[in-house]
Symmetry: C2
């Protein structure tokens, strides 16, 4: 199985969702990317359809927004 | 591992997210509940913190709202 990618920005909602996703899918099946820090991956997230964080992009390319931590505009500041 | 519960109401956003979640966590690890049909489980979903569908309640009791299909008020109609 390809990996999912979990994009977050370090917010409390993000961290809580990150723990849930790692528990659910297993840590080896998901790459965790903090786009608040790794800012050159913001555009990749946006291209995948991420509108807010936290969000999970599945191996087949669907963006699942999990609860709501911050908009991409907030992340971009 | 305890099962997660995926609550939905049959909407297109719900069905898409259902496929993603089943692919991610495995069909034996998640119970799918259509609260548009099984209406006596609406209150159970609300008690678990579900504010909109589709939503996944994890084995440790966290409600993860996945994208947005319909509010609970819409579901209750």
């Amino acid at each position: 199985m390809s990996k999912s990618i979990f994009y977050h920005a370090g917010c409390p909602v993000c961290i809580s969702a990150e723990h849930d996703i790692v528990d659910l899918v297993g840590k080896y099946n998901v790459e965790i990317v903090n786009i608040g820090v790794v800012r050159d991956r913001i555009s990749e997230a946006e291209k995948a359809g991420v509108k807010s964080v936290p969000a999970l992009v599945t191996p087949n390319g669907n963006a699942l927004h999990l609860n709501f931590g911050a908009s991409m505009d907030d992340v971009k500041g």
